[in-house]
Symmetry: C2
Subunit: 157 residues, 2 copies
DNA sequence: CCTCCTGTTGCAAATGATATTCAGTTAGCG
DNA sequence: CGCTAACTGAATATCATTTGCAACAGGAGG
């Protein structure tokens, strides 16, 4: 299981930084892994506290998410209004997101050409990219359908 | 001056929504226009309150920025940590941003091909895009230089 | 194993950005 | 004009996130 490998690497990371290997930190990783890819911190806090309060407190979750971000296991992938949606990367290949503003559905995609064009743009501006985020907001097919139906009803009213 | 045109259109917009044409709202537009393209709301609030407190209060600035966003004259273009950077669009053509994480410099760019590829991706997923945001975080040329210098000194130490 | 030092945890309180409530004010229809 | 609905400012609430602090627990060295 590659989750174990990730934990080992995280252990290295912590040691290098002079941090300790604690029950809470690794418990949080397990919870994140079993939650699903996309999550918001408050959501995760609630989920953890419902499942097993002994894993970690709100503060520890926030602090650990920060560490995991530094480590690179987690990425801030969507920023919508005052919400921040994270994703457990865990060796998953890089990708971008389509976000349905109606129902919140998230679709992942990857387009090699877009990545290449970005590199080209950076070169042109003598800019050294560290990371990037492409968010496309809109309507998923289901919500588009739903809107059409509603429009129809309104039109007859 | 196209600012006047924008104001006229905004006036239409307000009327359609049953909103009123007030001194504050238009004063804020002037301040935003004279501030420069990129701004954060708190920054704008301070700027306005330094220049002329009678223009509008913090609440009105927040409320008006929201309206201007709905109207489409303002866009949330960069979300970094807990900061939100807005941009006064005012008929400017669409573009994306390179953001220097060291000094905060913002570079605008536009790549037709990237836009086209995004449309293609949306089609492939039967997704109807409404808007999008591409943020590339990294180091501008000046900051890259500076880092190299520092690395040099550290190496000799 | 025990001990000690340092980093960690949980809680509660602090922050910071943004939203809202409410009482007084104003736009603008009729 | 006069009235009503919308607007405004100030203070207050909210929401996510951070921090201070006292109690606690890794883990290196004995």
């Amino acid at each position: 299981m590659q989750l174990e490998e990730l934990k080992n690497k995280f252990e290295q990371f912590l040691k290098q930084k002079g941090h300790k290997i604690t029950r809470g930190r690794f418990g949080i990783i397990d919870k994140i892994a079993s939650y699903g890819t996309h999550f918001e911190i408050e959501e995760l806090v609630r989920w953890i506290s419902n499942q097993d309060k002994s894993v970690a407190s709100r503060s520890t979750v926030y602090r650990t998410v920060r560490l995991l971000q530094e480590f690179g296991a987690i990425r801030e992938v969507i920023k919508l209004g005052n919400r921040t949606i994270y994703e457990f990367v865990a060796g998953k290949p890089h990708h971008e997101h389509l976000i349905c503003v109606e129902c919140g559905t998230i679709i992942e995609f990857y387009k090699e050409e877009i990545e290449e064009l970005q590199d080209k743009v950076c070169e042109e501006h003598d800019f050294t990219p560290v990371n990037h985020r492409l968010e496309i907001f809109g309507l998923c097919s289901a919500c588009k359908e739903r809107r059409h139906e509603n429009r129809g009803l309104e039109a007859t009213a």
